[in-house]
């Protein structure tokens, strides 16, 4: 019987694990292998070069700049996005004033409307979002500077994406704008599963909104926040940051390398400069950064799980 059981389980696991191995693990192994070669990506011929690519990477100023920006994305973006999303979700679900005859816990007035509006950007593809903002940031006739002129701030006409000090923040703002809605919905769902009697008890004890949030909502939502953090961080390190930087920024990656990120650098090396092997080397670095990020978040976020 025991034997049959294992065969049964293995039968179910083999296919998904096989698919995972082929489509995820195998490409990873290939990339790591290629990082030790001088493959151009344009011909099947290459030879092993040992650690040359890694030595080159350590001396590569642009690599360090990209790494720095990517790390900044991974730290700042989740912090701001999740912070905002938690605030919005709380106000939508719990933060409302108690109305006579209504439920004990409710959102602010019009909360169902807000919930939909926050989700709007999530419906747009990231490429469209990036293009829209590229127009909005146009210093000559874009929405933002026109607005500034409209309210009489003629002297304040920043170059936005053209200014090395602002460009990176402009890009981050776009990512926050486009991602926050998803987390509002995610956290709303999480909050809906927190039992109302906990809130009732807190209210009876005279807790205000802030106390309720920090003492009840946040601790009970911790698991969701943590997975959201990892998810957002990976997006910030990967696809989303590539799309906005590639579409919106000067160069792309500038001005003066102020917005270059690791994924963009991988792309440029592999597909512009015909240096696929070096690109995979940077990809390996990115893999390490991503894994380290997930590990750090998981470790820092480890808390006692509350059953309710």
């Amino acid at each position: 019987m025991q034997h049959g059981k294992y065969r049964f389980i293995v039968g179910f696991l083999a296919v998904p694990l096989g698919l995972y191995a082929l489509f995820v693990v195998w490409p990873f192994i290939q990339s790591i292998y290629y990082s030790f070669t001088d493959w151009t990506g344009l011909s099947p011929e290459f030879k092993m070069v040992g650690l040359d690519n890694y030595r080159r990477m350590l001396d590569d100023e642009i690599f360090w700049k990209s790494l720095q920006h990517s790390l900044m994305f991974a730290v700042v973006l989740p912090l701001v996005t999740l912070g905002l999303a938690l605030f919005f979700a709380f106000m939508i679900n719990v933060g409302g004033r108690r109305r006579r005859g209504g439920p004990v816990v409710s959102g602010v007035r019009g909360s169902s409307f807000y919930k939909i509006v926050y989700f709007f950007p999530q419906v747009l593809s990231i490429a469209i979002v990036a293009l829209l903002f590229a127009f909005a940031y146009n210093p000559d006739s874009g929405a933002i500077n026109s607005l500034l002129r409209g309210i009489g701030l003629d002297g304040l006409q920043p170059l936005w994406l053209g200014d090395p000090d602002l460009a990176l923040w402009c890009v981050m703002a776009v990512l926050v704008w486009s991602m926050v809605g998803f987390f509002v919905v995610l956290f709303s769902a999480g909050m809906a599963s927190i039992p109302t009697d906990l809130y009732e008890a807190a209210l009876l004890d005279g807790a205000g909104r802030a106390t309720t949030f920090f003492r009840i909502t946040l601790p009970l939502l911790w698991d969701t926040v943590q997975s959201g953090w990892v998810y957002m961080g990976i997006l910030a390190l990967g696809a989303e940051s590539f799309a906005v930087v590639q579409i919106m920024t000067t160069g792309p990656g500038g001005p003066d390398y102020s917005t270059t990120v690791l994924v963009l650098y991988v792309y440029q090396k592999a597909f512009r400069d015909g240096q696929a092997a070096y690109a995979t080397t940077i990809g390996v670095a990115l893999l390490i950064v991503t894994l380290a990020f997930a590990a750090v978040v998981m470790r820092l976020g480890r808390r006692e799980r509350l059953e309710y």
Partner: protein
Amino acid sequence: MGSTSAENNGADGTSGVGRRDLIKRSAALGLISVPAMSFLSACASGGGGDNGGEKAKAGKKTAKNPLAVNDSAPMEFVLFDGGFGKEYAEDAVKIYEKDFPKAKVKFAATQKIQSTLQPRFNQGTPPDLIDNSGAEQMDMGVLASKNQLTDLTPLLDAPSYDDPAKKVRDTLRPGIVEMGQLDGDPVWIMYYAYTVYGVWYSRKALDSLDEQYPETWDQMLAVCAKAKKKGMAGWTYAGKYPYYLPFSLYPMIGKVGGREVLDAIDNLEPNAWKHPAVKACFDAYYELYKKGYVLKGTPGLDHIQSQTAWAEGKALFIPNGSWVENESANVIPKDFDLAVSAPTGIDGSDKMPFGTIWASGGEPFIVPAKGKNAAGGMEQLRIMLSEASSKNFTSKVKSLTAYNGGTDGITLTPGLKSGVAALEKAGDNVVNPRIQDWYVQLQKEQIGVAGLGEMMAGRITPAEAIKKIQGFADAAAKDSSIKHYKHQ
């Protein structure tokens, strides 16, 4: 991976069984569809070149078929579907099909050159002719050095399509053949379009200021001052892609200091950028910024936005290439009277006369070495380089071709007409800086964005920009991971 894929490509498939077996089983389970199999069994770098099947046998060499094309061999042609569209190529394919009725031509147009063709190069099954253009252009230096391209010399030495007494080589515009060479004699690339770079402006706007196109920098500043009084900026440029600035800046450097300065820059010679002519031209451009003659907000505009602002009359001049007429056709007003001029110099002491202009080939066509019918690919190019095909291209997409001539008897648009006039005025004084096709990263990201872009935004001085750019050039010269070229 190299090793495993080599096994996979063993003709009988006896090796690499483990993985295939696994796939077969999964397929039997109905969980992986058949098309996925070929994908799975291939690694990213594919295998050797011998799995592409047989090459076409040479055909019979005749006067009408000087390249000895096999008249029944299929030919595959992949075109970049960009600003020039695909109609001109389809028309040329029709001629090929007429000349070789038994041959099957597979024609495809795409914007995704690299994503569709890179895997095919890796598998050793590239098409026979490629228009390797657009944002997804493949690095031709790498392709050539990895023996992936066919030397086009037989095509150049073949009689031209129109006149059997004239070789194809002799029907081309100056510089086209040299541009196709990368290292030594072989010609790897045939640039089909011919682009005129320079300063683009509206004659109507200049007339409204009562001015001619300025020939010296003092005149340029005077024109800009006059425009400013009328609430118009002198210049704008693609601020987000400042590597548009060289379209007028490099020929200006050539005019002021002579061709050698540009050649030294292309050759990445030490201190090439420290030449006084470079400093003089950088200073001149920086003065435009200093005096407020550059449209406000320009560093944050992309090429389309800057061209639109310029077409709306917000700025007088824009450095650009002859594609601007087509690209901005929908925003350029009817009475704009578009014109291009060779760049303004410093003064009468410049080494080359006013009229010195940058013109060079665009739309690089390549014939892969591992394709099955390279002769067919070259024959297709020979057809495209005929007068009729060239005229067809020019009238359809408002651009010149590599074919020298081909403008008689067709109505030229204002921009094109002024481009032809500018080329005539230039005569032999056509410069052709190669740095933009030899060292893409250096030209775009480093000289363009980090150097010129920063200088024109006023964040660094010309002296600092030169120092920075020289540093980048020196680093590129030392970098063993990039291929280096020299002017012959």
